[in-house]
Subunit: 239 residues, 2 copies
């Protein structure tokens, strides 16, 4: 099942027609290898990307070479629906794993949002959620120490993966190096490493072959004081 349908379905009821329209968006699908950039800072955005399989990420590289990751895109996530309004990208979009990506011409987006108010609303919702996630990341970096910063991110990713049916029990794919985690959370890879060790010692997580296992999701949520309201999962209330 198309992960975008699944995601939007967690906000609103989609008609069969809606579903079909989304399905049609995914007609121009291409496969790419991990590490590839879909679009780079400075380029003019012409297409809207819909991620169908794999993970992507938004990032910026500073003049001194430091990288900051500003978002993860999971299956079902769209890069900004209206991105084509801008003249130039202010950041890059790259792939963290091998991925399947649908490229959507802007006309398709405009058609849909004009003709299908229900879908337009649903896409709006997903944009608002993306922004809310970004705000929560700011809270995370700004106010939590390294340990809980990582733990909170894991909790979020678990819920988001679950939302599109990709959290198998308490495990999910997590194609992130410790370096990438550091660049996401404003930490060094070394410190991320030490915190992960502590999290493993305390039985909060287990990791193996690019997958994260969370033995006790409730406990993780409790310890990170996770408040899922920023994910706006209206219908399938999580906790």
């Amino acid at each position: 099942m198309n992960p975008l349908i699944r995601k939007l379905g967690s906000f609103t009821d989609l008609s069969d027609e809606d579903r079909e329209l989304i399905e049609c968006l995914s007609d121009n699908v291409t496969g790419h290898r991990a590490g590839r950039d879909l679009i780079r800072e400075g380029e003019r955005p012409e297409l809207v990307f819909l991620l169908l399989e794999g993970w992507a990420y938004r990032y910026k590289v500073l003049p001194d070479g430091q990288r900051q990751i500003m978002a993860f895109l999971l299956p079902g996530d769209l890069c900004d629906v209206h991105i084509f309004i801008l003249e130039a990208m202010d950041h890059s979009l790259g792939l963290l794993s091998d991925a399947k990506v649908a490229a959507i011409p802007k006309q398709r987006i405009l058609e849909i949002t004009e003709r299908r108010p229900n879908l337009a609303r649903a896409l709006w919702w997903s944009t608002l959620v993306d922004e809310a996630v970004l705000r929560e990341w700011l809270v995370n970096i700004g106010r939590r120490d390294a340990y809980y910063r990582i733990a909170h991110l894991f909790a979020e990713l678990y819920l988001r993966m679950d939302m599109v049916g990709l959290a198998d029990g308490q495990s999910f794919d997590l194609p992130l190096t410790q370096e990438a985690l550091g660049d996401t959370l404003g930490l060094t890879a070394v410190h991320v490493n030490r915190m992960l060790q502590r999290m493993r010692e305390e039985g909060l997580i287990r990791m193996s072959r690019g997958a994260l296992h969370i033995p006790d999701v409730d406990r993780l949520m409790r310890e990170t004081q996770f408040d899922s309201n920023y994910l706006h999962l209206n219908r399938r209330l999580h906790r």
Copy 2:
């Protein structure tokens, strides 16, 4: 002149009719005192707020009482145009100074975006810029040390104030306590204080009675390696 007209005008040419429509949005204006909350986390958003005078800010308070500020709204800024799609606010919106605020019912927004594609695009643009600013804040907190973190924020605020005609020469109102700066940048007020002292010693800034003066804007931009492309000031290219 209505600051929203001025702001959107820096993205696209507005027709007289567009201008008038925006002007009409500001028919329901109310004045409020500093410190007041326009809307609180958990409440259902019904109105879209347009800030006409003064400063507002988005913030969250964590269970342990820590506050994180996630955005500043300057005159001409709208709180999320489509916020009413959500069932509950995931953060609060408060006033940093006495302010004049226009409350816009959602119908008005929907009417405008449906009937005036040009305005719809312009509003889209402003949403995209807000998001880009948020991303840059993440970079700021994640990758810059305290000194440049503050300096970079000042540079951004200068440009944004200038954009709506509120930077008088090299000075502008900055109704922020050092506490608020700390809560914005993930620092303590004490550390903010010491960094500000250093910035003054080095002649980078001067402060008095709630106003910030930047003797040499170019120098500030240079030292912070400020890249204004995230503000997407297409037309009036700044530097």
